[in-house]
Amino acid sequence: MEDDDRCSSNNPGGIEQEEEDEDGTVLRFLDSLDSYLTLLDALSSTLRQGWFELASARHSMGSSRISSVLLDQKVRSAATTFQVGKSIDGSPSESHPSFAISKWASSRDGKCSFGEMEVSHVQKTSKNSELRHRGSSNFYDTTEEHDLRINASSTIGDGDVQKERSKSLSVFGTLVSPKLRAAQVSFETALDAIVEIANIRSSMLCAFTQLQQEMKEKGLG
């Protein structure tokens, strides 16, 4: 006890720094947790929109034209891929994976176009305004936003990207319903959310691991 008192009086700054670091870790963990839940809510809304558009396309084109039977086993590479890198929060020993997406990359040799990153930024900004409205259904009130996204996607994407998109749609026939195109955009948006969720999850688990270690050191875990 006396040693502890001597230590604390000799190095009060060190203990304060430790407590600040711990508070920082707790805050990072709680922020990640909140973002994780909010993003999952946003993903649910986007997927619901995509399923609805897919159902509408099936209604107009016929059930036989949109089914898994058409997903042939022809050899093909994914046009949309992920990159995995390392992200470091705080000390170098606490690295965690970070994820990035490259959409329709096969036509552009793996380069993600600025246009598509721009669209992702717009979507992120619009999502931020809904951060504190968890649980509300954004199913119908994002129609305008969704139309903007479709227009943005069709004007920003270059010819190669449009070619890749059409190739993806061509599995279901030469002439497809506009609803199927809309569903494609919705699921592309869902992929953006999935990348963010993967990164937030990674950050949350990293902060959680740090907290566990700190609790163990203090004899609480």
Binding site: L43, Q73, A105
Partner: protein, 130 residues
């Protein structure tokens, strides 16, 4: 976990899916479908005839492949192989549980949230007070 395990960096990695037909179809429209020379796909479509063993095998295969960065699994399917999903602890590929048309997302069943939940449990608070 995240700090200790080796984190492999990957370019052009795939996203794997274990979900119902509409969800898989939608994501295939977005260009994530891959079929390799051995006719192996990066997705499993769940229907009424899919067995739990098939889901387990697909999950084990996707989580052991070097070319997969993320595994998307519908939460209701993850609940069928909950033990396997909860015992998975590698940083890559990341396992994300997503909602399906008939089963909305439930945070109470998410394996990541279950793992961190104990921080807020009465036991962990009580042990701090002792």
């Amino acid at each position: 976990m995240a700090g200790r395990a080796q984190i492999p960096t990957k370019n052009s990695a795939l996203i794997a899916m274990i979900a119902d037909e509409d969800t898989v179809t939608g994501f295939l429209l977005a260009g994530v479908g891959n079929v390799d020379l051995r006719r192996k796909t990066n997705y499993l479509i769940m229907d009424s005839k899919t067995t739990v063993k098939a889901i387990e095998d697909a999950f084990k295969e996707f989580t052991s492949r070097e070319d997969i960065a993320v595994v998307l699994i519908s939460q209701y399917i993850a609940s069928m192989i909950r033990f396997l999903v909860d015992s998975y602890n590698k940083p890559v590929p990341a396992i994300l549980e997503i909602p399906s048309k008939d089963h909305p997302y439930d945070p109470a069943h998410d394996s990541v949230l279950s793992r961190v939940r104990y921080l807020f449990s009465a036991e962990s608070v009580a042990s701090g007070r002792r």
